[in-house]
């Protein structure tokens, strides 16, 4: 309410050019506005709506959830406590790497915070994914059965619904993610890449005599010096083109001497390129998506730390078709679409690597998350694409997050990967792990270990 009051006062005082433009536009507007309906109950259940409204918030505009970043101050202490828990024989309780999106209005951010759950015996919904059948309150006109509004399933892009929501904020993931990677490496003892003796060196800099300096230096660059001397003498008129050169007459200025000096160079070869590939088909909705996304956040953070920020990432979503999205935010937030075709995704990765000639300069990692369904049940198209991938990548990790209803049933992807024998033949390149619907953080991290570990 404070905000309301402020704006009303300001309105009279001053308006920015854009604001007055908008106001003038509104003044001269003839016709009627169509209000697009996008009810904001996406994430909240009715009980949350009922109980999360409170006086501080509603009457005084005081928010009760201060930035979760504030909690980070006691992180070390918390982790220490968590370690003690294990020693005392109780399961760990601090979760890391959850993404919270604070802020009611406008830009939402991806933030990484330590978090926990107070576990109690309490009621659950009957089915975790039954959001669509659970009713909510409503008021206003409309016959029973009448559609009163809609919201695009895919939030980004041209649809009016959530347009603009994804803007900004995605870079926020960076700095916190680095912290998180550090924690993951230290706390969860994820393998340290540098010690693995990969083919290419992972150091960020090399030292070489590449820089040139006039006058002083470590090694005289004779050729360059001679060239310089000749230029000088031509200018001085001591060297005539028509006559044979007489080096004894040359004047040598101190500045003509060119030396090489030792300098630090960026080693571009040490960079990593990570492809995050996620299945966002209809069957992925709910927990599988959450699991995959959580895991990918963790992997992303860990790589970021391992490569000291020298990681480039590409994000690919696929259902029957694959597409590249520009940032982690979109990757993380884009929801459920149609069917599943794994080969499309691998094909796109191959295409990008090929077109941009990435294999030469990068350590390439691919992490693929799916629920394991594939219309190409035999893997006829997928396996050849996968084989192509294996020729140049450092590691591909496939995570299969099984939805609750498919518990215990082997998925198609699992079947054809097993059948192809690649899991054994190319074990150093290809890894697969299957997560059950109710896997916890601990299990997800275990899974990362399986995907990237050596043994």
């Amino acid at each position: 309410m404070q905000a309301d009051k402020d704006t009303s006062n300001k309105e009279e005082e001053e308006l920015s050019p854009e604001q007055s433009a908008i106001r003038n536009q509104e003044k001269n507007f003839e016709g009627c506005h169509e209000i697009t309906m996008t009810p904001d109950i996406e994430m909240e259940s009715t009980s949350d709506q009922l109980y999360s409204n409170n006086d501080l918030n509603v009457l005084q505009n005081i928010t009760l959830t201060p930035s979760p970043l504030l909690w980070l101050k006691s992180l070390d202490e918390l982790l220490e406590r968590d370690k003690r828990r294990q020693e005392d024989g109780f399961p760990r309780k601090i979760h890391i790497g959850r993404l919270v999106r604070p802020g009611k209005s406008g830009e939402q951010k991806v933030v990484v915070v330590p978090s926990t759950v107070e576990e109690k015996l309490m009621h659950d919904r009957i089915r975790p994914q039954d959001d669509e059948s659970e009713g909510s309150g409503g008021a206003g006109d409309g016959e029973e059965g009448e559609v009163i509004g809609e919201q695009p399933v895919r939030q980004q892009g041209e649809g009016q619904g959530g347009a603009g929501q994804g803007k900004g904020g995605e870079h926020e993931a960076g700095s916190d993610a680095y912290e998180l990677g550090k924690i993951l490496t230290e706390k969860f003892k994820l393998p340290n890449l540098k010690e693995k003796g990969k083919k290419r060196s992972l150091t960020r800099f090399t030292y070489d005599l590449t820089d040139r300096n006039r006058g002083t230096g470590q090694i005289l660059d004779k050729k360059a010096t001679l060239r310089k001397i000749i230029t000088t003498n031509i200018a001085l008129g001591r060297l005539k083109i028509t006559e044979p050169p007489d080096p004894t007459r040359f004047l040598v200025a101190p500045q003509d001497k060119v030396y090489r000096i030792l300098s630090r160079e960026k080693d571009y070869e040490s960079q990593a390129m990570v492809f995050f590939v996620r299945d966002y088909s209809g069957s992925m909705s709910g927990n599988p998506t959450k699991l995959i996304v959580t895991q990918h956040v963790l992997i992303y953070s860990w790589l970021l730390y391992q490569y000291a920020n020298q990681v480039e990432t590409r994000f690919i979503l696929h259902d029957v078709e694959a597409k590249e999205v520009e940032d982690f935010y979109t990757y993380y937030n884009t929801n459920v679409a149609g069917g599943t075709q794994v080969s499309a995704a691998y094909k796109l990765v191959n295409k990008i690597v090929n077109d941009e000639n990435l294999a030469k300069d990068y350590n390439i990692y691919v992490f693929h998350g799916t629920d394991g369904d594939d219309w190409d049940a035999e893997g006829k198209e997928t396996i050849p694409e996968l084989k192509k991938l294996l020729t140049y990548i450092n590691r591909i990790g496939v995570t299969i997050a099984r939805p609750g209803y498919a518990r215990g049933r082997e998925s198609e992807v699992q079947k054809y990967l097993d059948k192809s024998g690649l899991l054994k033949d190319a074990a150093h390149l290809l890894r697969m792990d299957v997560l059950e619907d109710d896997s916890d953080e601990e299990r997800i991290i275990e899974s990362i270990r399986r995907l990237i570990g050596e043994g």
Partner: protein, 544 residues
């Protein structure tokens, strides 16, 4: 935190006078504080109680995606807390007119806290004071026992939603006259019916005999009534005694049961744990009424802030500002629930109906829609009825009794549904139902309702604690069971088992062509499961 200035305090006192004149009743002393963002960081994890005990979980973001409202203490954040004196919190730059509105709202809450009988258990104490002494106890214990104090808090909190709030209320003198003695209740409700299997006519005869004696002898009626019974059934007194002892034990909630019967906790060196558990239990009980009266409480406060603000002569000229804020607070969302709006409309509706005398047989029997519409016998019972509701109702009773078809139709309410449109790839919101029954059901589903966990005291031969979840159509959150049972096992000091229902869902195989038609609802089969926590290991058996 600092107190509001004298100028603002004077406004508050003015509001109090007007509110008391209007019929609200509350203790005249209150405290108002200005809070900064920094204060809020510390206050919000402590649910605005400045003196609540320290606990490390308060320093961490607590995940709430799962059944947020089921979590202790269910976020009963208010601008005002239910203490003596009541304490309320404000921004430091509210304009006067806004403060007037908020003060009235706050006074509405204070009146509700201090008069609604669901808050009976909070009437005789000042929670800030109690919390402060509890905080000191915990701090002292922490210096002696270190991190084990936090484990005990954690384990106690893992069952603090299972406290016997209603049992607690039952034991309190709520000022409402008890119609008959416990012995009499036992005689008619249990002894005659369950022990003696008396015929209906025999039962009615006894009722008549009692009434006659009562009329004839007054106070002496009951003793002579029982004198006759003792002659007829010499075993009556013994049976009554057994029943009383048993029912006393049965009315222990899980937390109390563990404290009373756990061999582990009652060992000399562990008794300190019991003080912590008691603190956690007490704290939970304190918040129970608040979470059960959200719609009512907010509706009541909104009703009064509107009514009193508009009558207040001090704020002339701010009607439009008020209207804007007020509409923001109490508008019905197109899709979604707003407790302020819902509660406020219910109060309006009830007031109007009571004023027109529409609660009663005559009106209920009337079927002609036009005469129903015009029905007005000028009963004028509106405000009286509202005060009765404020005194005696909780959210459930409120909704159950007053959300009816007339109310829905008048305010154009409906149950909104959300479904996936495969062709357009959109979520569609649609009007699912306009029936009062469905709307009530939707509301009930949203209300706070912890599971009912009973203690099986009959089969106990060994020292196992057997818990039975009374299944009400909803499963327990499966991921949390292990942790919760681990905590209970620790406190109990021996094996713990929990019987509950679990869904076995058979999803019909999805057609490969995902675009055709809605997926048929999955087939749910409930299975009775028993979890056993022994030596910190969880095992599961299917009972059928």
């Amino acid at each position: 935190m600092q107190l509001i200035n004298q100028h603002t305090k004077a406004i508050m006192e003015g509001c109090k006078e007007r509110a008391l004149d209007a019929g609200l009743s509350f203790q005249s002393e209150t405290l108002e504080y200005i809070v900064t963002n920094r204060d809020l960081i510390e206050l919000s994890p402590k649910i605005m109680i400045p003196t609540l005990y320290d606990y490390w979980v308060h320093d961490v973001e607590v995940l709430k995606e799962k059944g947020k409202y089921e979590l202790y203490p269910g976020n009963p954040y208010e601008t005002v807390i239910n203490t003596r004196p009541a304490i309320s919190f404000y921004n430091d730059n509210n304009p006067d007119w806004l403060n007037v509105m908020i003060f009235y709202h706050v006074l509405g809450h204070i009146d509700f806290f201090q008069n609604n009988h669901f808050f009976r258990n909070t009437w005789d104490m000042d929670f800030t004071g109690e919390a402060l002494s509890d905080k000191r106890v915990i701090a002292r214990l922490r210096s002696e026992h270190g991190r084990w104090v936090d484990y005990i808090i954690e384990f106690a909190r893992s069952i603090d939603n299972l406290v016997g709030y209603y049992d607690e209320l039952k034991t309190l003198d709520d000022g409402i006259e008890k119609s008959c003695s416990e012995r009499l209740n036992y005689y008619f409700d249990v002894f005659l019916q369950l022990e003696k299997h008396t015929t209906i006519s025999g039962y009615v005869n006894e009722v008549n005999r009692y009434n006659e004696l009562k009329n004839e002898l007054g106070e002496e009626g009951e003793p002579s009534f029982f004198a006759e019974i003792r002659r007829k059934h010499p075993e009556f007194d013994a049976k009554y005694k057994i029943y009383r002892n048993k029912s006393k034990d049965q009315s222990l909630d899980l937390v109390q049961h563990i404290m009373t019967h756990s061999v582990f906790l009652n060992q000399e060196e562990n008794t300190w744990m019991k003080s912590i558990i008691e603190i956690v239990r007490k704290t939970s009980l304190f918040f129970q009424p608040q979470i059960r009266t959200k719609i009512l409480n907010e509706g009541w406060a909104s009703y009064w802030h509107e009514k009193l603000f508009l009558k207040d002569d001090r704020i002339n000229g701010h009607e439009v500002d008020f209207a804007r804020v007020h509409a923001g607070v109490t508008s019905m969302p197109r899709v979604g629930l707003n407790p302020y709006a819902l509660g406020l409309r219910l109060f309006y509706e009830i007031e109007e109906r009571a004023d027109k005398g529409r609660f009663g047989l005559d009106f209920d029997r009337m079927t002609n829609i036009h005469s129903r519409k015009d029905y007005d016998i000028k009963a004028g019972a509106g405000i009286e009825t509202l005060f009765k509701i404020r005194r005696e109702y909780s959210d459930f009773l409120f909704i159950n009794q007053y959300v009816d078809q007339d109310f829905l139709s008048r305010y154009n309410l409906f149950v909104a549904g959300k479904r996936l449109n495969n062709q357009r790839m959109t979520w569609e919101y649609y009007v699912k139902s306009r029936k009062a029954k469905d709307y009530r059901k939707m509301l009930f589903e949203s209300l706070y309702h912890p599971p009912r966990i009973l203690i099986d005291t009959y089969t106990a031969d060994d020292n196992q604690l057997r818990l039975i979840h009374k299944f009400e159509g909803k499963p327990l959150v499966r991921e949390y069971i292990a942790s919760a049972l681990l905590g209970i096992e620790f406190l109990w000091g021996d094996t713990v088992s929990l019987e509950t229902n679990q869904a076995e869902i058979k999803t019909p195989l999805r057609a490969t062509d995902a675009s055709t038609g809605p997926t048929p609802p999955p087939d749910i089969k409930w299975r009775r499961i028993r979890y056993t926590m022994k030596d910190r290991k969880l095992s599961k058996t299917t009972l059928g």
